[in-house]
């Protein structure tokens, strides 16, 4: 099955490993604490027994240090990761995570700093936040920056709430109850409508044109009713296309009394090349865990700064980090602020990494990264065109979408192609997103991959296309080289098992 045409990867023995609970052995310990060095108080005098736990933490594992090390080392080998190769998940910007950034984030002066430290004793951290705000402001062309949101979706919610607060301030309290509509293209990421909803908006969907752009006629039509609070637009959009008419679009929304929110998840196509602020965008979020290379960590943590125009700045979350002369301080006195969206100041550790990324790349390095990211996507677009259906003609920016149209005639679908790609040594691309493209395969190579590997990827995809014709079974049953095959997700959702339980209990249940 792992046919010889596959040169990039090969199966090799790996360790199986049970759940830690299945490994637990009464009496084992993986820790040691210093002996208690204060005179002991009878426990009952501290916490009365009725408020204390009475299950003796039954079920919590008892294992040794080496057990834990082997447990996680073993299961880690079942993961694909950026350090193993190209990770072309469209919309996710899986770029290399510098080790240097990991190192500086662990400097004790940062890692051991308590968030409630008085300002004068935390000047270094406040400076770091301030400098990152300044850099992001320059990169987006937007004056106001808050680093408080913990991820992109959190930044969206923040931005949308700012729009709402602004409208109320502009048109009078409660005005936003009438301007309830948030316009969102059908190609948008699910977090956009979800965030709009969380902010109490009613979502109306804008059609995309056959060319993959926002349909301006439809937009005008939707803007005709005076109830539009704003538009949430991704640019380049989730099809990887730059919204050429972004200025007109902003104009239409503004004329209708709305504001423009830009989803900045795709900023890796624009850094140093074009600035949302110059396009008429009012507010945007960035994903530091995409564009600014803070590690994804298997699902987080992220950091989703919210950047906005000077006009909207008063509405940003509190506290703000500001500078007076050469001193940095927290400004809580923001009467118009939407309030706080997270305890403390956001994911500081991610900010340290992002600023390190910006400083080590430098202004020209940032632009070069953008160029390389777009160049690589173009190269892939060209390489796959002969074998896969490319639904849109416009030249892609940092990512490109293909479909399974041709392959599906043989019963081979996007999911199958993705799984087969695993056998070829690659992580699959993003699949079935955006939703408006049937059988979408959204490919984002990022700048962190060299030509050799791009060629291998193109060759793998073309080889799979051939297989789809000549030996579809091979693709339909992929992957063939992994420890486990495709899992029955439907069954898993029907009767979900979401936690381990002791055998007896489990069977009892």
């Amino acid at each position: 099955m792992n046919s010889t045409k596959i040169t990039k990867a090969a199966p090799h023995i790996t360790q199986n490993e049970a759940l830690i609970f299945e490994r637990s052995q009464t009496g084992r310990k993986g820790y040691r604490l210093p002996p208690l060095d204060v005179d002991e108080t009878p426990l009952d005098e501290i916490v009365p027994v009725n408020l204390r736990r009475d299950d003796d933490l039954e079920g919590v594992p008892e294992v040794s240090e080496v057990d834990v090390v082997r447990h996680f080392t073993r299961i880690s080998t079942w993961n694909y990761s950026i350090d193993l190769g190209m990770y072309p998940l469209g919309s996710c910007t899986m770029k290399y995570n510098s080790r240097l950034n990991e190192k500086v984030a662990r400097i004790p002066g940062f890692a051991n700093l308590h968030p409630l430290t008085p300002e004068e004793d935390a000047q270094g951290a406040l400076q770091l936040i301030y400098e990152l705000q300044e850099s992001l402001s320059e990169i987006t062309g937007l004056a106001g920056v808050s680093l408080q949101p913990a991820a992109g979706a959190h930044g969206e919610m923040t931005g949308v709430m700012i729009i709402r607060a602004f409208i109320d301030a502009r048109d009078g309290a409660g005005a936003s109850d009438k301007r309830r509509v948030m316009l969102i293209p059908d190609s948008a990421h699910g977090t956009n409508p979800a965030s709009a909803h969380l902010s109490g908006f009613t979502v109306k969907t804008i059609r995309s044109t056959a060319e993959g752009f926002t349909d301006l006629d439809h937009l005008r039509e939707l803007c005709a009713h005076g109830d539009v609070a704003g538009l949430m637009l991704t640019n380049p959009n989730t099809l990887g296309l730059f919204e050429k008419q972004i200025k007109e679009i902003c104009g239409i929304v503004h004329d209708a009394g709305g504001l423009v929110y830009m989803d900045g998840a795709n900023m890796n196509a624009l850094v140093g090349v074009a600035r949302p602020g110059d396009m008429g965008v009012d507010v945007i979020h960035l994903n530091l865990h995409k564009t600014f290379s803070t590690p994804h960590g298997g699902g987080g943590p992220g950091c989703g700064p919210c950047c906005c125009t000077r006009e909207l700045e008063p509405f940003l979350p509190v506290p703000r980090v500001v500078k007076d002369e050469d001193r940095f301080r927290l400004d809580f006195d923001r009467p118009q602020s939407i309030g706080r969206v997270k305890a403390f100041f956001g994911n500081f550790g991610m900010m340290v990494r992002a600023l390190a990324y910006i400083q080590t790349h430098g202004n020209d390095g940032l632009r070069e990264a953008t160029e390389a990211a777009v160049l690589n996507a173009r190269y892939v677009a060209r390489g796959l065109a002969p074998d896969y259906d490319k639904p849109f003609d416009a030249p892609p920016m940092h990512e490109v979408v293909f479909t399974d149209k041709r392959q599906s005639r043989k019963g081979v679908h996007t999911l199958d192609i993705a799984k087969r790609l695993i056998d070829y040594g690659f992580h699959p691309m993003t699949i079935y997103f955006p939703l408006i493209v049937q059988g979408a395969m959204l490919i984002e190579p990022t700048e962190s991959v060299g030509r050799q590997e791009l060629d291998q990827f193109i060759a793998a995809m073309r080889s799979i296309a051939r297989e789809a014709l000549e030996e579809p079974e091979t693709v339909l049953n992929a992957p063939h080289t992994t420890r486990i095959g495709r899992l029955d997700e439907a069954a898993a959702a029907r009767r979900p098992t979401l936690r381990w339980r002791p055998k007896e209990a489990a069977s009892a249940a």
Binding site: W78, G272, G299, G485
Partner: protein
């Protein structure tokens, strides 16, 4: 490659961007520097965080616990920290199994049935819990104890502001430090949930069982928030006390305080609400050969499928921090978690006793506590703590005036297993010395 694509310059890559929108000048961000220079610069910045080098008694939502060396070593395996969300289970089982273990451990500690794969932090987890309570009960009134972490309450205020939820604070008893009995009378059949923190912001342990009975009596859910997760291993679990939703800040589980983030929000509830839970869930699944694996499941709750009807907008969560917490919980294990909790409680008790003996100092609240407590000083707390820092090089706690302008002399002290007796005694002597030398 450019030529290969028929392009003459990198600039042409951006032809699809209208000329007038191109940014043609160099960014005014700094020029590139080398590793050596970056390290020097960041070390220098970090050195100005003088507090990071001091013995500290600051808690209030971020706790200084010891993290075994293997925690950071293991999360630093690039297979973990450079992986994406496990959308492709065949090559993501490491992440998926770890999350499944995390969910299980959170259930075990909270005493609940089901837990998700993490929220941003404790404060946003609480906000999501309030929204979930509204979904579940279809009621709009939520009552919260005012003794919940002030920043958590602020975050909830922000989240609910456009949701038509009346988020109503109930004061705490000035004697006990616990939610006031009278306040609870505002519970009624319009109430979606009662929100309490225990140990609460002042370190006082609420009678969660009694509170759950009060809440359930009117058909409301009880939401319990915990900021000091180490308390789980000593205190009766909220689940055992009848809580319907438990949210917590998981930072205590081996995660550095890191100026407030990244932390990790724990979110657990009852089986019957599983499909109302926000965020990701990992479940068991099997392949054709019957081999066990794990997958992201019940995705129909989530934004990428349900869009505006999703149970939450959360997508990226705190995966790697949840992993760190998992490794911490498993390394400390059953006995270690108990011992850490016991040491925290013991050291806090010792510290409280010593401070109480000081001329002019008192502990205003009578309720039992875990490892935090409020101290009432004979002088202005802010000033007292500032001098303690500068003169004795100790961070003595949090001046409550940061959140309560009307409480100039109160401060919150937190003691953990990392505070040696020597540090504690130095704190006590320092307080005595400074308060009398004013």
């Amino acid at each position: 490659m450019l030529r290969n694509l028929g392009l003459n310059s990198a600039e042409e890559l951006f032809d699809s961007i209208p000329a007038d929108l191109r940014f043609r000048v160099p960014l005014k961000t700094p020029a590139a520097i080398s590793e050596i220079e970056l390290l020097a610069g960041f070390e220098e910045m970090a050195s100005r965080n003088v507090a990071a080098r001091r013995p500290t008694f600051l808690g209030a939502g971020a706790y200084s616990h010891y993290s075994p060396t293997i925690v950071d070593h293991l999360i630093s395996r690039s297979e973990f920290f450079t992986a994406y969300t496990p959308y492709q289970p065949e090559i993501s089982q490491g992440t998926l199994q770890a999350i499944f273990e995390f969910q299980t451990l959170v259930c075990q500690l909270t005493g609940m049935d089901v837990a998700n794969a993490s929220m941003y932090d404790g404060s946003t987890a609480l906000a999501e819990a309030v929204l979930m309570a509204e979904r579940v009960t279809r009621r709009k009134k939520v009552i919260t104890s005012a003794a919940v972490h002030p920043e958590y309450l602020e975050v909830v205020d922000t989240y609910v502001q456009h949701y038509g939820i009346d988020f109503h604070r109930v004061d705490f008893d000035a004697r006990t430090g616990l939610i006031s009995a009278e306040g609870l009378n505002s519970l009624d059949d319009q109430t979606a949930a009662l929100v309490v923190q225990s140990p609460n912001f002042f370190g006082c342990i609420e009678d969660v069982r009694a509170l759950s009975e009060r809440a359930h009596a009117v058909g409301a859910l009880l939401i319990v928030a915990v900021t000091e997760a180490i308390s789980f291993s000593l205190l009766r679990s909220p689940g055992a006390c009848g809580a319907d939703i438990v949210v917590a800040e998981g930072q205590s589980f081996g995660v550095p305080v890191s100026f407030g983030g990244p932390f990790v929000g724990l979110f657990a509830t009852r089986d019957k609400y599983a499909r109302q839970i926000p965020g990701r869930l990992v479940g068991e699944a099997y392949d054709k050969q019957g081999r066990r694996g794990f997958v992201l499941t019940l995705a129909t709750r989530e934004q990428h499928i349900r869009r505006e009807k999703a149970t939450s907008n959360i997508c990226t969560n705190e995966g790697l921090i949840a992993l760190a917490a998992t490794i911490y919980m498993e390394t400390m294990g059953r006995r270690g978690l108990q011992e850490v909790a016991a040491q925290c409680a013991q050291k806090a008790a010792y510290t409280a006793r010593r401070i109480q003996e000081l001329e002019g100092f008192s502990l205003p609240y009578s309720a039992p506590r875990f490892n935090e407590f409020v101290v009432r000083a004979p002088v202005e707390a802010r000033e007292l703590l500032a001098r303690l820092a500068s003169e004795k090089n100790i961070t003595g706690g949090l001046a409550l005036s940061r959140y309560y302008k009307d409480r100039p002399n109160d401060f919150l002290v937190c003691v953990t297993e990392t505070n040696s007796r020597q540090e504690i005694d130095a704190l006590v002597d320092g307080l005595a010395h400074i308060s009398t030398s004013t």
